[in-house]
């Protein structure tokens, strides 16, 4: 790769010796400290592996008794009825994937479909390295203990068989739980650590390491949002209406059959056409075609925001401001004496003692109303800010300054929290420096 290719048009500095030295020192010190402080590999990652097995089954009962496929109480969600996979008109029974040890096989409600291989896969979930090691030691100890046959001395035949059965069941459970090191996640931690350091390197100055990481961020981020839109919107809202059978067979097997597939298809052609028109913007000519779908987007957004902002912001904020200015402490249900208040709400009678004046609450209420009015006066530019209006607006500015100061404080704290999170990742997850 030529050096020109790594330069920006603005002209990045060619030598970043100090930056690289600083990064090398940081890395070396971190790794050394990690080794001395807490011997062990860097970026340790463990996963708990659970092997799942599903077999294809069909109801033994005739289609009229399809409720047999309903999940038994307390069973896993995987046994739930199959949405959208209702019995077909040729009266062939509904087929569902269930666990191989589903109790309905024993009761005769289900039978396995012959000739279809079971689906087996592993599900891995991250486990904290420290807990993982403890669990591995416990599991190994349990396996060793349970591998010893039961001593039959002093036991009847029934007791011996019961204990042996329990031992074998426990041993199987221990053996089926696997906590293993995960090289895939370890590599991931390394990648994340290097990328994190790449972003931090910008603190020294703009440099090629940062630019590479920044480019990765742009590419991955663009693809991520495109994928989110594809899987969460385009597939279920567009493709599923245009080609429901294909989508059901390949992407959304749980897709419920529409009552009006023809109408859905025709209506889906409109956003499809608008979408194509929007993509026309990439074409060298006829970019104005994209204005039509843009008009739909802008019009819809304007319509949504108009009602939403009036209802949720304007009205709601005014309603929240219009509270009694004089506040009282809540009355007590105990010691109801003279001056007590009583009555009934929704048929439930109540009686409370006299309420007391709440100075803090009253001040808060008054300040709240004064703040809203004075800030609104400040934002009202149709009147010149002179005289009484000017003084009121000035008080509004004080409220605004306090508001901005608080917002600034919270923003800084939010960023520092993120920063602490990144250091926690580098020092603990990557370097393993936690005691």
């Amino acid at each position: 790769m030529s050096s020109e290719g790594m330069q920006q048009s603005g002209g990045a500095p060619k030598s970043d010796t100090r930056l690289w030295i600083a990064l090398l020192i940081f890395g070396a010190v971190g790794i050394f400290a990690g080794k001395v402080w807490r011997p062990g590999p860097l970026a340790e990652a463990y996963v708990e592996v659970v092997t799942e097995t599903r077999v294809l089954a069909e109801a033994v009962a005739p289609p009229a008794a399809q409720p047999a496929l309903a999940a038994p109480s307390g069973s896993m969600g995987a046994n739930a009825p199959l949405p959208g996979a209702s019995t077909s008109e040729d009266s062939s029974p509904t087929r569902v994937w269930v666990e191989s040890n589903d109790p309905r096989f024993q009761s005769g409600e289900l039978r396995r479909v012959e000739g279809v291989a079971p689906e087996v896969w592993d599900e891995r979930s991250r486990v904290d390295p420290k807990k993982a090691k403890e669990q591995i030691a416990t599991l190994e100890g349990d396996a060793e203990r349970l591998s010893e046959p039961t001593d039959p001395t002093g036991l009847t035949q029934e007791e011996f068989e019961a204990r042996e059965a329990a031992r074998i069941t426990a041993l199987k459970a221990v053996e089926s739980t696997r906590i293993v090191a995960s090289p895939r996640d370890s590599i991931g931690i390394w990648v994340a650590a290097l990328l994190t350091l790449g972003i931090f390197s910008f603190l020294v100055r703009d440099n090629p390491f940062y630019k590479v990481v920044e480019s990765i961020l742009i590419g991955v981020s663009a693809a991520y949002w495109m994928l989110v839109a594809f899987w969460s919107t385009l597939v279920p809202d567009l493709f599923a209406k245009l080609a429901p059978d294909l989508v059901r067979a390949t992407m959304l097997p749980g897709l419920v059959e529409s009552e009006h597939p023809g109408k859905d298809f025709l209506l889906a052609l409109i956003p499809l056409a608008l979408g194509v028109m929007l993509l026309w913007r990439l074409a060298p000519r006829g970019a104005w075609i994209a204005v039509w779908p843009l008009a739909v987007v802008i019009g819809t957004f304007a319509g949504m925001r108009l009602t939403a902002s009036i209802e949720a912001d304007f009205m709601a904020q005014i309603a929240a401001t219009m509270k009694p200015l004089v506040a009282f402490t809540p009355g007590s249900l105990e010691g109801v004496v003279d001056g007590s208040v009583s009555g009934a709400v929704d048929g439930v009678s109540y009686a409370t003692s006299a309420q007391g004046f709440d100075l803090g609450g009253t001040l808060a209420g008054v300040l709240g109303v004064v703040g809203v009015i004075t800030v609104l006066v400040y934002f009202f530019f149709s009147l010149e800010h002179k005289g009484l209006v000017g003084k009121t607006a000035r008080v509004g500015v004080w409220f605004l300054m306090i508001t901005f100061g608080a917002a600034f404080g919270f923003t800084v704290m939010g960023r520092i929290t993120l920063l602490v999170g990144r250091f926690d990742f580098l020092f603990n997850d990557w370097l393993g420096l936690s005691p």
């Binding site: 959304l252 609104l376 300054m401």
Partner: protein, 233 residues
């Protein structure tokens, strides 16, 4: 006509359907349909954005402009993420439909997409925002000067908020008895006063202003008074 009038009519019709649906249940299904189209178009907009990213970076590479190597890295990372995400590479099968590969979940790090999110996108975005902590602090140090009452109020409030959120805030004020007259000076009380009284009042007024501005702008667009949004083809 095609470039000006029809887009304006489409814009007005889409907006009016949404407004009418708020007042009349008869047009509710219309608004649901329009919102569904809006969501689909928003999804297509992401595809358009990706297409634009491709076009810009490919042009940069083909013309060997300075920094073209970074454009290549962007495209490679974009393509890699797209391939693993669309193919659902390594996804965990759906327990109900394990035979349909694309029905699987790719949220965990087991899947390529989940791995890229967990170990590439998430740390990068978090670090990028964390980096702002340095620049916000640096800018504040350079720009903030307690020259007048307004600046003092801003600085003082920020200081109080920063102080009361860390252990030092509680450490410095916990000696004040909770039932005394000066209990409002305790860290948690100061934070509550600033946020629940002053900040709430300020934010309410700002929100009312934003709501009025949004409503006015929306009306101008829907009624065709403001046509700037559709002026560029």
């Amino acid at each position: 006509m095609l470039q000006r009038t029809i887009p304006l009519l489409i814009l007005s019709a889409s907006g009016l359907v949404l407004i009418l649906s708020y007042f009349s249940p008869i047009t509710e299904t219309w608004s649901e349909q329009v919102v569904s189209w809006f969501n689909i178009l928003a999804g297509v907009a992401f595809v358009l954005g990706a297409g634009n990213l491709l076009a810009v970076n490919l042009e940069k590479i083909s013309s060997k402009r300075p920094g073209w190597a970074y454009a290549a890295i962007t495209l490679v990372s974009f393509g890699a993420m797209l391939v693993v995400g669309l193919s659902k590479w390594g996804s965990v099968p759906d327990a109900k439909y394990p035979n349909v590969h694309l029905a699987g979940s790719q949220d965990s790090t087991q899947a390529g997409y989940g791995w890229a999110y967990e170990y590439v996108l998430s740390p990068l975005t978090a670090t990028m925002f964390a980096l702002l902590a340095f620049y916000v602090a640096s800018a504040a140090f350079r720009a903030f000067r307690a020259k007048n009452l307004e600046a003092i109020l801003l600085l003082g409030t920020a200081f109080i908020i920063l102080l009361v959120q860390i252990a030092a805030g509680a450490f410095l004020t916990n000696w004040i008895p909770e039932d005394s007259f000066f209990a409002f000076l305790r860290a948690e009380s100061l934070k509550a006063i600033v946020t629940e009284v002053f900040q709430t009042a300020g934010m309410r007024a700002i929100l009312i202003g934003i709501a009025l501005g949004t409503a006015a702008t929306s009306l101008r667009l829907i009624l065709g008074i403001d046509r700037s949004a559709l002026s560029k083809g």
